[in-house]
């Protein structure tokens, strides 16, 4: 009898041990390069805010998935009126904010009204510009009225800055974010790491991870040993630089190259002579060789683009052949502009590798047609004030990472100083067009205008270099929006 008990106990113990050995890991440490200044996506433009909080801590009415498609979020379904002006959202019930307060239609009304208010500091205020009224019909129904049909309204409501916040906690979200998501903030050791833990009261499918830590690794050289030592198990977008090959050949890691919405372009000050002449801009476009720029500025991983549009998005038209690399032709364009002897200009480069490395290649390529560029390195703060705000520049290199932002060329006062009535009309029509095929057609037209008119020279789409433990599943391949959505991330054995 005694023997049987011992054997039984041993069996139970070994089974328990075996099970715990098989139980998959439930914690994850991710590396991020920049620390978010705060954690309120409705109050700051820094991409790192969205990286940490989007879909994890905060949710919107709709959400954008890995492929850039609109999915239901806090709204389980919606109906659009025949004139396209009124959206009626049916909300999920039983949703709670992290502080225990119940989510209802009033919170949606509060969030949208707050974002479009006169003194709103929402970094994407333009997303809400067409909303004329928000009504909480009942606790589970919200009616949003627009001043006209809006083709991208559902997409816009899924963007990072359109997340729903609660009236009682909105002002404290910078430090203590209170959302409805499957993770809530555990603690933020400033300068070091942000730890999220699973929200046990989540309304939807619970996350597989119990704990997710975003650790700030600002130095590219430090990122590789952090992965190799196992301290960090994933980089959604890694500053891998020269170490990429080493990581690719290491079976412990998955290296997944995806796309972003970052159109990396050589921006031109279109009002500043001689760049106001089409022929000069055509000369620039013909003189540059995208492949060597991509090799130098993005490890050869970026996809070449011929207009301001991501190859990953629906409606993309390949226009890289509009101005093929042709020195003789470029010189001819310069001659047309009366500048056969070339000219001198400046190029201001922000402190990111793609700009600093790409700028040197462009400088040497333009030298071949007699255009002498003086490189002026600037910090981001300087770039924003000199180039973006004061338009004090000739050329610059920057990646425009906002999704679906081809409309920036029609914005009055935007730093390109580009004004093309034909293009503006297309964008205006696009804004109010809901029909999918018609939208794609208009997007194609907009891309073609830009490709031929060269308000900027289009270089490449910024790649997303995902590197993570080979046992990790569910990380996003692409960045249709800059978010590290961890809701489906899990460890496998």
């Amino acid at each position: 009898m005694k023997l049987w008990k011992t054997i039984l106990a041993a069996a139970v113990l070994s089974l328990a041990a075996a099970m715990s050995a098989f139980a998959a890991r439930t914690d994850l440490t991710l590396g991020i390069v920049l620390e978010p200044p705060h954690l309120d996506p409705t109050a700051g433009a820094a991409a790192a805010i969205g990286e940490v909080t989007y879909a994890n801590v905060f949710e919107g009415l709709t959400r954008i998935d890995d492929n850039g498609q609109v999915q239901p979020g806090l709204a389980e379904s919606w109906a659009v009126s025949d004139d396209g002006k009124v959206y009626t959202f049916k909300l999920h019930s039983g949703v709670k904010f992290h502080d225990g307060s119940a989510f209802s239609a009033d919170d949606v009304k509060f969030s949208l009204d707050r974002a479009r208010a006169k003194d709103s500091l929402n970094p994407q205020k333009q997303l809400f510009a067409h909303i004329t009224d928000v009504t909480a019909v009942d606790p589970a129904t919200v009616k949003v009225s627009l001043d006209g049909p809006q083709g991208s309204f559902l997409y816009d409501m899924g963007q990072v800055a359109a997340v729903i916040v609660a009236k009682g906690s909105a002002d404290g979200n910078k430090d203590k974010p209170i959302g409805t998501g499957p993770f809530k903030l555990d603690h933020w050791a400033k300068g070091s790491e942000i730890t999220l833990v699973k929200n046990p009261e989540y309304w939807g499918t619970p996350a597989a991870l119990d704990k997710a830590t975003f650790r700030i690794v600002p130095d590219a050289a430090a990122a590789v040993p952090a992965l190799l030592s196992g301290d960090i198990q994933a980089f959604a977008n890694m500053p891998a630089q020269d170490a990429l090959e080493q990581l690719q050949s290491d079976p412990r890691f998955s290296v997944v190259i995806g796309s972003t919405e970052g159109e990396t372009i050589l921006s031109i000050n279109n009002k500043k002579p001689p760049f106001d002449k089409l022929a000069v801009r055509q000369a620039l476009a013909s003189a540059i060789d995208r492949s060597s720029i991509i090799a130098a500025a993005s490890n050869g991983l970026g996809k070449p683009i011929g207009s301001h549009f991501s190859p990953a998005d629906a409606g993309y038209v390949d226009l890289t052949g509009v101005y093929p690399h042709d020195i003789a032709k470029a010189k001819e364009y310069l001659k047309q502009a009366g500048l056969e002897n070339g000219f001198s200009a400046t190029i201001k480069l922000p402190p990111v590798p793609y700009a600093r490395d790409g700028g040197q290649v462009i400088q040497s390529q333009l030298k071949d047609i007699g255009v002498n560029l003086q490189i002026i390195p600037v910090e981001w703060a300087e770039w924003l004030s000199q180039v973006f705000t004061n338009k004090d520049y000739d050329l610059t290199i920057v990646s425009h990472v906002e999704p679906n932002d081809i409309d920036i060329y029609s914005r009055p006062g935007y730093y390109f100083q580009y004004d093309n009535p034909k293009f503006n009309d297309v964008i205006k029509e696009l804004g109010t067009t809901v029909d999918k095929d018609k939208r794609l057609e208009l997007l194609g037209e907009a891309q073609r205008i830009l490709a031929h008119d060269v308000p900027a020279v289009y270089l490449f789409e910024l790649p997303k270099i995902g590197v993570w433990d080979a046992k990790l599943q569910g990380m996003w391949t692409n960045w249709p929006i800059e978010a590290d959505d961890l809701t489906k991330v899990k460890w496998t054995d």
């Binding site: 433009a45 709103s120 333009q126 400033k190 070091s192 430090a222 703060a381 300087e382 004030s385 006062g413």
Partner: protein, 349 residues
């Protein structure tokens, strides 16, 4: 003695005031608008204006300076623009990383440098000296971030003894926290030790050539006693001076090491604040560091008095802000040597 210290304190206070004006002015001249930086490319000019008003950036310059400087006097350092928390909270979180790191590095570099200096000086020109000074030269020449990476690959990736970087916080346990400061402290300490060792050696050699050393040897004292008790003590003044300078350097100049080891220290905070144009954080922390450097220099001044008994005994013998006797000549020479070596090593980086 009292007059000497009083004079030092008045000079320190004046330096602080002057520094506050310079720091404030420099940050104002720097191009870049913190409000635009926070709101990003899609925000309208009106929105930026609203935020500027909220942040108090539109008030007249002099008023803002007085407001800030007045706050400093009552130890109110203002609120961070980007983090929107009091600057003092940020500093408190960071100083518990940077200060222990600097202290450990300082202790390490002293423990290494003094014996090496004594060893080299007592074997001047012989093989041991050449070897030690060769190693010191290497320590000065090798950039510390490169050295840090070697340490990481060796101890964190290969041996897995310590984490590759990051700081778990003191709440994770003293040993765990100390372990994560181990590599950065070594990376910081070795180049400093190399400099300090060279200074100790040359100071000691100078003292060893003094007449009283010969006298001490002549009266039959063992070489060991003469070296450690008589010579080293007199060579300590330049060494202390360099130590003071190094501590200030360690406290503020750890930006690179803190980046490589992603430690949430003061250096990282300043670096981040400058790129984000978090003016109030930069200004306040730079002022804190200025105050720390001045304080350290005061302490070094006081410690001359401890090392050099003549200062304690004959208060009247104070001239030109320096303790009397051999000190000025030696200190100036030491400082010059320190700067030369450091500039040389920086030039390489």
């Amino acid at each position: 003695m009292t007059a000497y210290l009083l004079k030092r304190i008045i000079i320190a206070a004046l330096t602080l005031v002057l520094a506050s004006i310079v720091v404030f002015a420099v940050m104002e001249i720097l191009p870049g608008d913190p409000a635009r930086l926070m709101l990003g490319l899609n925000a309208s000019a009106d929105q930026v204006e609203v935020l500027r008003n909220q942040m108090g950036l539109n008030a007249p310059l002099v008023l803002r300076y007085l407001h800030w400087a007045g706050g400093l006097l009552s130890l109110d350092f203002g609120r961070s623009y980007t983090y929107s928390v009091p600057v003092i909270d940020l500093v408190r979180e960071r100083v518990v990383v940077s200060l222990p790191l600097a202290l450990i590095a300082l202790a390490l570099s002293t423990i290494i440098a003094i014996p090496v200096g004594v060893f080299s000086a007592s074997r001047q020109g012989r093989a041991g000296d050449t070897l030690a000074m060769g190693a010191a030269q290497l320590g000065v020449a090798v950039p510390n971030f490169w050295f840090a990476l070697i340490l990481i690959y060796l101890f964190a990736v290969w041996l897995r003894l310590v984490p590759a970087g990051g700081f778990p916080g003191w709440s994770a346990g003293i040993w765990t926290a100390l372990k994560s400061l181990f590599l950065p402290a070594i990376a910081l300490a070795l180049p400093q030790a190399a400099i300090l060792g060279r200074v100790a050696r040359s100071a000691l050699i100078e003292v060893l050539n003094e007449d009283y050393i010969r006298t001490a040897r002549a009266k039959g004292l063992p070489y060991r006693t003469v070296l450690w008790r008589h010579a080293l003590r007199n060579a300590m003044i330049p060494v202390l001076t360099i130590l003071g300078l190094q501590f200030a350097f360690l406290l503020a100049g750890t930006i690179i090491i803190e980046n490589v080891f992603y430690l949430p220290g003061l250096g990282r905070l300043i670096f981040q604040a400058i790129t984000q144009r978090d003016l109030i954080v930069v200004e306040s922390i730079v002022m804190l560091l200025v105050a720390a450097v001045i304080l350290i220099n005061l302490i070094v001044d006081f410690s001359y008095a401890i090392v050099d008994p003549r200062l304690r005994a004959i208060p009247g013998k104070v001239r030109s802000g320096f303790p009397s006797g051999i000190a000025p000549k030696q200190i100036l020479r030491a400082v010059q040597r320190f700067r030369e070596t450091r500039n040389r090593s920086r030039g390489r980086q």
